[in-house]
Amino acid sequence: MEILVCVKQVPDDSVKIGLNSSGKPAVDGVTMVANAFDTYALEMATRLKEANEGTITVVAIGPEKAKDALKSCLAVGASKAYIVNEDGLGDMDSLTTGYTLSKAVAKIEELNGAKFDIIFCGKETTDCTTGMVGAQLAERLGIGCVTGIVDIELKDGGISVKQETEEGYNVVETSLPAVVTVNKPAYDPRYPTMKSKMAARKIPIGEISKADLGVEDDKIVPSVKVISLSEPPKKQAGVKINEKTFEDTMAKAMEILKDAKVF
């Protein structure tokens, strides 16, 4: 079974990101990591591979530095990695990202000499959070897609997946090839070991340029344009109550809350 996992390198989502003095997201100095939902996707893909045999390839679109995210994936289940160099691709929105990824899928299939059976994506990224790219990739490829899944198994030559819903889950079946986007499953992604990290370092990362993809220029013009960025209005500085005794703390808290007509 040939599996592809699409990964985006994003700023660590446990860091609160505001705007810097030039009005851009203040991401300088923030550790870049593989998008959390993509790591869930990779873990699910790895478990599927371990249960059924197969090979996992990971792909990212990004700058040279995004190779770090791919290396971390190679240490926890993936055995091949490709980076699509973002040079010349310009600003991207979900639509152009889905299109570019569809071209990358075709290129990697050509390089690997095999078609992908299942393409895994995270259900959204933690930076842009549009949650659209996986479904748009599937549309471009003209194959089936199930979004927000928490479990997957092979069934009758296709897949049967659990798609999380508000009340529980749907069991959805589709033939292969297919795209799935992954929500947080019941388990956490595994950690690399020293040995798996060392092994991952030795795996070369394939480089794909804009020219290799054969993208049509008019299809990589983004439709969604960002006009301006702002920070939401700051909350009025709050009060923190920490008196010497519990009774004093509660008395003060209740007084403030009563005055504010909260209760």
């Binding site: 889950y169 959805v172 297919a178 960002v226 939401p232 909260v262």
Partner: protein
């Protein structure tokens, strides 16, 4: 019906989801500025009565499409794209529900247009385009977006806009027959694990608990406080993974985004993944024994103390106040 804005209505058992009716309000504002009609597109099963609802909440016209289920992606994406190709709307608004967020990106590809995601603000720009406010980086930054292609698509977050006052309407209702093609995925079973219906998005008061509650037994204090205040119980991921409460209560990155009038965070440290989901609340009270907990940075009132002491005392005080 040239020159219109589509508001796509998701239904569940013949009832339109709230966000569908809410979206009529901003759609009508844009429509008024550009002399467009606001058209509700209602999809689902047994829609005869449902269509009337959309009309009564302010749509100028209603298009219904009868389909075999309340939602299935391939059928719905095909149907919405076909209706759009027939009527050429200037804009298409879809509720940012789980189904809506599954639907919108596919329709966008079929129509080769852009889509703004999880919109929390809509206004008409001087450039003649709709300006959409979209939260990014977990809501710590707001991006104002425009879409250069038509239709201008967006998924709109629930609870942001207020429904119009309903009134009897004589708006035209058009039934469209569409037979979906190219169906690749099939829902073979719908499993309801969570019987309670938890309406966090519409709640005015939410009392939420985190890891700091310590145990399932202690977590019941959160429920007690919520009951006293007539509120709804929320939770971070930890209590859900520990089995103290069901997933339906989760607030944050992998749960609901909420904006109640009052939010009380109990034993919640304030990781960005959670704060993302509740920072829009009008008034935030945080209770935590760690005085450096980041939750205090977003709280109007922070109470440094043990939840097991503070919550019972707070419940007593509120009962006294309301006696």
């Amino acid at each position: 019906m040239d020159n219109c804005i589509f508001v796509v209505m998701e239904t569940a058992e013949g009832v339109i989801k709230n966000v569908g009716l809410e979206m009529i309000t901003p759609a009508k504002e844009i429509a008024a500025a550009k002399s467009l009609k606001t058209v509700a597109v209602v999809l689902g099963k047994n829609l005869a009565e449902t269509a009337k609802q959309a009309a009564n909440y302010g749509a100028d016209a209603v298009i219904t499409v009868e389909l075999n289920s309340d939602y299935s992606s391939d059928e719905y994406a095909f149907a919405v794209a076909e209706i759009c190709k027939k009527y050429n709307p200037e804009a298409v608004f879809i509720g940012a529900t789980q189904n809506g967020k599954d639907l919108a990106p596919r329709v966008a590809v079929k129509l080769n247009t852009g889509c703004a995601s999880d919109v929390t603000g809509i206004k008409m720009g001087d450039d003649g385009k709709i300006h959409f406010t979209c939260p990014v980086y977990g809501g710590t930054i707001l991006a104002e977006n425009v879409i250069d292609t038509l239709p201008q698509m967006a998924t709109i977050r629930g609870g942001v806009f207020k429904k119009c006052e309903p009134a009897e309407s004589t708006a035209e209702i058009i039934n469209e027959n569409i037979t979906p093609e190219n169906v690749k995925t099939k829902i073979v079973d719908v499993v309801k694990e969570i019987s309670e219906s938890v309406n966090l998005e519409d709640a005015e008061v939410i009392v939420a608990g985190g890891r700091g509650m310590g145990s399932a037994e202690n977590f019941s204090l959160v429920k007690e406080l919520a009951d006293v205040l007539g509120g709804v119980v929320g939770a971070t991921r930890a209590p859900i993974e520990s089995g103290w409460i069901s997933r339906a209560h989760q607030i944050g990155q992998s749960g609901k985004i909420v904006a109640p009038k009052l939010y009380i965070a109990c034993g919640i440290s304030g990781a960005t993944q959670h704060v993302t989901g509740m920072v829009g609340s009008d008034y935030i009270v945080a209770i935590n024994k760690d005085e450096d907990a980041p939750i205090f940075d977003v709280a109007n009132v922070g109470i440094v103390g043990n939840v097991m002491q503070v919550i019972p005392e707070m419940i007593n005080e509120i009962k006294k106040l309301r006696a």
